[in-house]
Symmetry: C2
Subunit: 215 residues, 2 copies
């Protein structure tokens, strides 16, 4: 199978959101131009991305919204329910648990862990907080697919190792630390500093702070 780049997967997520909007508007068909609406995506890119997965569109007619939406759902694995454990019941963990939208998209938060024994037994967003010492046993027994790292940075790698040992194959990391996983495990990091850098880049370019100009 061809390796699909992370950037392609992000665009598929974007197309999926546009398709949901268009479906809510009651439209049956959509053009590659509308799918491309976000800045930086061209219609040609849309057609190329979708061509990896089969030929969904018809020239001049566009794509059938319901059909394309179902196909992208399946490609993104959203026709499946995934079991998620959140490790760290601090601000980030609590924010994730408070957001109920994940459930609608197929992500069930089945467990939350914290190092603080005093928090064990509390409920956040309907999920009971457990002591992190039970992580390996609970993750294996509950068949957790995805672990979310919302711990302090110094604890993050050990939590990842425990999760991987318990059979978890997807890690979403919010800790500002570089983590290592074996090749069979997929790691994504939400790096808030990198997001700010992306803005400072744009602001610096706009202000002409840069001395040299890219060719």
């Amino acid at each position: 199978m061809a390796r699909i780049a992370e950037s392609t997967v992000r665009r598929l997520s974007h197309y999926y959101r546009v398709l949901e909007e268009v479906a809510a508007e009651g439209k049956r068909m959509i053009s590659s131009r509308r799918l491309a609406e976000r800045e930086g995506i061209t219609s040609a890119q849309v057609r190329k991305d979708l061509s990896y997965f089969g030929s969904f569109g018809r020239r001049g007619l566009g794509y059938n919204v319901a059909h394309l939406s179902a196909e992208i759902r399946a490609i993104l694995g959203l026709d499946h329910r995934w079991r998620v454990a959140v490790v760290g019941a601090g601000n980030i963990g609590t924010a994730l648990l408070a957001y109920r939208g994940f459930e609608k998209q197929g992500f069930d938060i089945v467990a939350v862990f914290d190092q603080d024994r005093a928090r064990a037994g509390q409920r956040i967003g309907g999920v009971e907080v457990r002591e992190v010492s039970s992580l390996a046993a609970v993750a294996a027994r509950a068949g957790v697919d995805i672990g979310v790292i919302a711990t302090p940075p110094e604890a993050a790698q050990q939590v990842v190792d425990t999760l991987v040992g318990a059979g978890v194959r997807g890690i979403l990391n919010f800790a500002p630390r570089k983590l290592f996983v074996p090749p069979e495990v997929t790691l994504r990091t939400v790096d808030m500093a990198m997001e700010l850098e992306s803005l400072s880049f744009a602001l610096a370019q706009a202000r002409g702070v840069r001395r040299r100009t890219p060719a």
Copy 2:
């Protein structure tokens, strides 16, 4: 000026992190291969990315760490200090304020706002919480460059409009809602559902949940 794709900027942020690591190890030179170390980046991609900004490398010798690091710092606008306002002192806002690493990278959180009057006057991470009614006046007076949206989704667009009206030109959005900004303003959204989708894609591929296989 050539438009630099968001994905290129992300790779520059990545190279910058690798350069900081390598500098900490005391190395003077770095190869494009080491810069490419993250999965999905090739050495050819590194050379192409860096070629936009001038020719830093020497064939067979690699790149001078201190020089390339300083150049990327300047490109990313990190040789400049940026004034950041956080709107929403809930879990996400508090997590951002608690993380002091931003300051080191040139981002000074100068103000935090919340809708809850009872929170006004409290300090989070050393910054005083203000009532959101003062947002326009304070943002303009303090010369805020970047606004972080950590509000409930239904309040997000109004906050963005207020910030833009006050001269803010960069928005980092954590609210799960599509926001609109004028063309002179740069918007980045941290979409946690999209991160989870990127993982479910990888897990579904690995499990062979997909019926059809990309060509």
